[in-house]
């Protein structure tokens, strides 16, 4: 299970990477493994306002649909069109080419309530699931 140390994580298995005023968001390796083959990603639109812990998009496998929750509040400034074209990127490269969207953050404070790699690993191992 790949859990890069330089990222933050949510209980709902999204990762967040701080990039200046923005935060880039994707699904963790654990998430893509649980979902199995991703067939479609419904991304938020550019300019859309998102709220920490609330749904911002949907990822679909053949058998199920899963909410993508925003790790922090803000507005969406970038979305990954490549994933819309080729959803398998989420499975193949969840931390790289499979990124989903970027949020311009409204409150830096929210970042501190996210987990770091070690805490996230504990979370997974203890079986606390979403």
């Amino acid at each position: 299970m790949n859990i890069p140390a330089d990222l933050k994580y949510t209980k709902s298995h999204e990762w967040a990477k701080v990039e200046g005023e923005s935060v880039r968001v994707g699904l963790s390796d654990y998430a893509q493994h649980e979902i199995s083959d991703v067939v479609y990603v419904e991304l938020p639109s550019i300019g859309q306002a998102v709220e920490a812990g609330k749904g911002a998009g949907v990822v679909e496998s053949v058998k199920a649909a899963f909410n993508i929750y925003a790790p922090v509040s803000g507005s969406v400034v970038e979305i990954n069109d490549a994933v819309a074209e080729d959803p398998s990127l989420v499975n193949q490269d969840p931390y790289g080419k499979g990124w989903l969207f970027s949020i311009k953050v409204t409150s830096q404070a929210e970042l501190s309530s996210l987990m770091d790699g070690a805490q996230y690993e504990v979370q997974i191992k203890s079986g606390a699931m979403e």
Partner: protein, 492 residues
């Protein structure tokens, strides 16, 4: 692999021909109204068309050839007398806008049908309009909303569904603007009364339930559930998908339900047709009668006519009056079986299900203990854990034994659920054969799981790649050809 009909097309081939007596389109249409690009419907001769579809039909399971132990679907025998009646030209050619005096045979049968469905369920009135169960559920949601709006109660925005419910329940509620509140069931699939009491408040419009529930168990607390809901001023909706267990045994009205939908393509033998058409008539208690969709039926003198005067009606649900041919089939079925026959249907359905459960419990883990009603669930959690064999794999392997798969991975509360509903129209002999097959597969799961995991092996195709189909959808032969799987495999 059978070629697509478009791949069999050749210019000059004809099937149906019309004598247009020398007329041309441009006699009647100016250029701006005419079709610009010819519609490229295939050109195939009649013998080739017949061969095409007959060959396709042979690549298909059906109730007339195979046992379908599909939980929640009630795949019973479709009596041919139903079709004999509905194929009569004197009925099939009746136009919906004919003067009603000239359509009295159908009108009388529809009027009878409403009475029969009221009898079976105990409800006061029925609308025969909804085209399917889900359509009936939507109508139910509409009536619930109208009922509270008319009382001036604007807070009732929530609908409660148990976590084991059929997907159409929350979908119907949400489609009509309700907020869905899911409550947990216990290990018997029974509604958790405590959770229910905590979830119900003045914002609750109704609860959607089926009884027996989706684990095949009768909700013994149903009258208390009804009491909780009614005391809170809320209503109860009955999903009639499992009615095959209750004919002549229990009536939804006595259990306390205010709205009921029935699936005529389940309980009342209307054929599934590969996915439809069915019919989903909805019955209501006295307090909701004036909200029913229009038109209803009424008797005036010796005529049956349409009644457009329903005081707070939710309006029209579809064009015309409902799935008339399906409704007539149900009428025929009910008349054939009659009072004693319908009771025997549920008894035999329950006997068959318990018989299978008893015979299989040595080999698979039932999800519930004790007797079941017309269906039961097996839990393949152990097989999944120990052997990486999932419910879907068992279903696929059964195809090789000549049985359609049971319902798998539903209800969602049991991850590796296999839901089995034999119905009353299967013989003991067929059930014994099914048990033999299940035992053989149980042995394979232990000794040769690979053959189960990669099943089916004897169908016209092997496991289909549904990931590819979803990532690169090819839904239309005539669509712009981009990089699609069909490009490399369309040509035979």
């Amino acid at each position: 692999m059978e070629k697509l009909i478009f791949e069999k097309s050749k210019a000059g081939k004809r099937a149906a021909i019309f004598d247009v007596k020398g007329h041309r389109a441009d006699e009647f249409l100016s250029a701006d109204l005419m079709r610009q690009e010819v519609a490229k419907l295939p050109e195939v001769s009649e013998p080739e068309i017949v061969r095409h579809f007959v060959r396709l039909s042979q690549k298909n399971f059906c109730v007339d050839t195979n046992f379908y132990p599909l939980g929640s679907c009630t795949m019973k025998y479709n009596p041919k007398i139903n079709d004999f009646v509905t194929r009569d030209e004197r009925l099939a050619t009746i136009h919906p806008y004919q003067p009603i005096e000239t359509a009295q045979v159908i009108m009388q049968m529809l009027y009878d049908l409403e009475q029969y469905l009221c009898s079976v369920t105990g409800m006061k009135r029925f609308t025969l309009q909804p085209a399917a169960g889900a359509h009936g559920e939507l109508a139910g949601m509409m009536m619930v909303k109208a009922y509270f709006e008319n009382k001036g109660d604007k807070k009732r925005k929530k609908v409660i569904v148990p976590d084991g419910s059929h997907g159409t329940n929350p979908a119907s509620a949400a489609e009509y603007g309700f907020e869905v509140v899911q409550i947990p069931s216990n290990e018997r699939g029974i509604v958790n009364l405590q959770a229910l009491k905590e979830a119900v408040n003045e914002e609750t419009a109704c609860i959607m339930l089926t009884n027996p529930n989706t684990l095949g168990v009768f909700e013994e607390d149903i009258q208390e559930i009804a009491s909780i809901m009614h005391k809170a001023g809320a209503l109860l909706y009955y999903d009639g998908a499992n009615m095959n267990a209750l004919l002549g045994l229990v009536r939804p009205s006595d259990m306390g339900f205010d709205i009921v939908h029935l699936n005529l393509h389940k309980t009342f033998s209307v054929p599934h047709g590969g996915g439809g058409p069915g019919a989903g008539p909805v019955g209501v208690s006295e307090r909701l009668v004036e909200y029913l969709p229009v038109p209803l039926l009424k008797s005036i003198g010796d005529q049956i006519v349409f009644d457009w005067n329903v005081k707070h009606s939710i309006g029209r649900l579809k064009s015309f009056y409902g799935q008339a041919a399906a409704l007539i089939r149900a009428w025929v079925y009910i008349r054939c079986l009659g009072r004693s026959g319908l009771k025997q249907v549920s008894e035999d359905a329950i006997i068959n299900a318990n018989y299978l459960k008893k015979k299989l419990e040595k080999y698979y883990l039932p999800a519930t203990k004790g007797y079941c009603m017309h269906e039961f669930v097996l839990d393949l959690a152990k097989e999944a854990k120990d052997r990486n064999i999932h419910a879907i794999d068992l279903g696929k392997r059964l195809l090789d034994f000549g049985f359609h798969a049971p319902t798998v991975h539903f209800p969602l509360i049991i991850r590796e659920a296999v839901m089995i509903e034999p119905t009353e129209s299967e013989s003991k002999e067929t059930l014994d054969e099914f048990v033999e097959a299940m035992i053989a597969i149980a042995e394979e799961i232990n000794n040769n799981p690979e053959i189960v995991r990669t099943a089916p092996h004897t169908m016209t195709v092997k496991r289909c790649d549904d990931v590819l189909a979803a990532r690169k959808p090819d839904l239309n032969y005539f669509a712009e050809k981009q990089a699609k799987p069909s490009e490399s495999i369309t040509a035979s």
